[in-house]
């Protein structure tokens, strides 16, 4: 039989003050990033060790140092900038076109009954299509130049933008719109001073999504048919089994994605400081 501590006598319980047991611990992860950096450094160190000690074949997984050297050489030769330049041009143009169209259509859907009826039907029907599947069709329509790649990106960006814009417009508190109406503020001014800033958080959140959609589509499109561009470069490196170059391309893509994310953070800090 288990030994048990002798039960406290009733008199102890009555007279001795005892602390209230603390029950509120946990469920509050703090936002410190130090552990993240340490873990990242550790993974890279182990990876480097595995490469230097030749535990893995560098053909399949080159060491971080080899990738760094490959990146450096690419940058020095100018090839990196050429590929990056093409990719940035395609992303920039496609994203801008898709975003402008998406914002306009999103606002129309958010503000007009007719546009909402028509727009939501079309968006629901077309949004689920993987846009890269349309690239061959777009090549038939637009030729084999830059246009079909840019159009693919623009299409991918357009749908997500339109959806996030009209959800943002829908989420603008109705009481603010009523308030503006009660002061006889004209329609265009309500759109500009109430609905636009009210929808902005959702629009910027949409930018985060469309930036990654654009990156995904540019790489896919460049792998399907391009001479220059990070996607094309990664594909060529793979075909030639230049794994260090391939991974250098992947690292560049990752850095590019990070940079865009930071840019959107800055934009949010600047435009949404009131939150």
């Amino acid at each position: 039989m288990l030994e048990r501590a002798p039960a406290e006598t009733p008199s102890d319980i009555d007279t001795k003050p005892r602390p209230v047991e603390f029950r509120g611990a946990g469920f509050m992860p703090s936002t410190g990033r130090a552990s993240g950096w340490v873990a990242l450094a550790l993974v890279i160190a182990v990876w480097q060790l595995a490469g230097s000690a030749e535990w893995v074949n560098p053909l399949f997984l080159p060491a971080p140092s080899a990738i760094a050297v490959a990146t450096y050489k690419l940058a020095m030769s100018g090839a990196l900038w050429q590929h990056l330049g093409w990719s940035v041009m395609r992303i920039g143009t496609g994203w801008l076109l898709g975003t402008v169209a998406g914002v306009i259509i999103g606002f129309a859907i958010g503000l007009s009954t007719l546009a909402r009826g028509v727009g939501i039907t079309f968006i629901s029907a077309l949004f689920p299509i993987p846009k890269i599947a349309l690239l061959p069709l777009l090549i038939l329509w637009l030729g084999i130049g830059e246009e079909p790649k840019i159009a693919t990106i623009a299409l991918g960006v357009f749908f997500s933008t339109a959806i996030s814009v009209y959800s943002g417009v829908d989420a603008v508190p109705r009481n603010l719109i009523r308030m503006a109406q009660s002061f006889n503020v004209p329609f265009h001014a309500i759109v500009r001073r109430v609905i636009w800033p009210g929808a902005l958080p959702s629009i910027l959140a949409g930018f985060r999504i469309t930036a990654s959609v654009a990156l995904l589509l540019v790489v896919s499109a460049e792998m399907i048919g391009a001479q220059y561009g990070i996607g094309a470069f990664v594909l060529q490196a793979g075909n030639l089994m230049q794994t260090d170059q391939l991974l250098a391309g992947v690292v560049i893509l990752s850095l590019f994605g990070l940079a865009v994310g930071k840019l959107i953070n800055l934009l949010e800090a600047k435009l949404l400081h009131w939150r």
Binding site: N175, R178, M179, A180, F183, V185, W274, R275
Partner: protein
Amino acid sequence: MDLIADHISHRFDALDVLDDVSFTVRAGEVVAIVGPSGCGKSTLLSILGGLLRPTGGAAELRGAPPKDSLNPLTFVFQDFALLPWCTVEENVAFPLEHTALGAAERRRIVEDALRRTGLSDFRGAYPKQLSGGMRQRVGIARALAVKPAILLMDEPLSALDSQTRELLMEDFVRLLADGAMGAVYVTHNLEEAVRLADRIVVLSRRPGRIRKVVPVTMTRSERGDRNAREKLLALQDELWSLIREEAIDAEREVQHA
């Protein structure tokens, strides 16, 4: 300028909310609207202010608005309805942006409204930085800036704690003292009604009909006196006796819904 509720009825789909409500708010008069919850008080105010089209009857104005009034019927909202991305000053200036006033005149008006509500030192603050009471003061300053003939106040104190309510009530008494502005004051708080109103319109439970119009004979400044307290309490009791049974029914109904 008088504001007239002319046989106003309203229904939302199958729900009858207001039934044949008629009364007149005379220039400079403060009329409180009280009644059990869900009796259509706020709906009535929206109709009076032109934010909702009634299904029957109409809201009408009689007589010219004051010459310099930029928005004769001006709302003060329960949830303040401040633009969170604008500072206090920008919020107060917001309704002036689209008027023909020059920049200097606008600044002068905003300055004056901020001063009258004690917000001059908070002009650069954003709504999220302010307490509830200060936020509602911004809402009031914004309303004052357009020089209303009649304030349409939709439970303006109900989102605030009781101490803040007391302070803002004193502000209201002060602002309405000179009789230049009238008000329609929707509230479920009978104490607020007897403190502010010249007449109190008591609505029945849904569909809201006028049960009684109770005049308050004391001046607003008299009501601040200690001696007046008993009379006001008696009046509050009278109102409560009119509402109590229906408030119980209304509450049960809400719970069953």
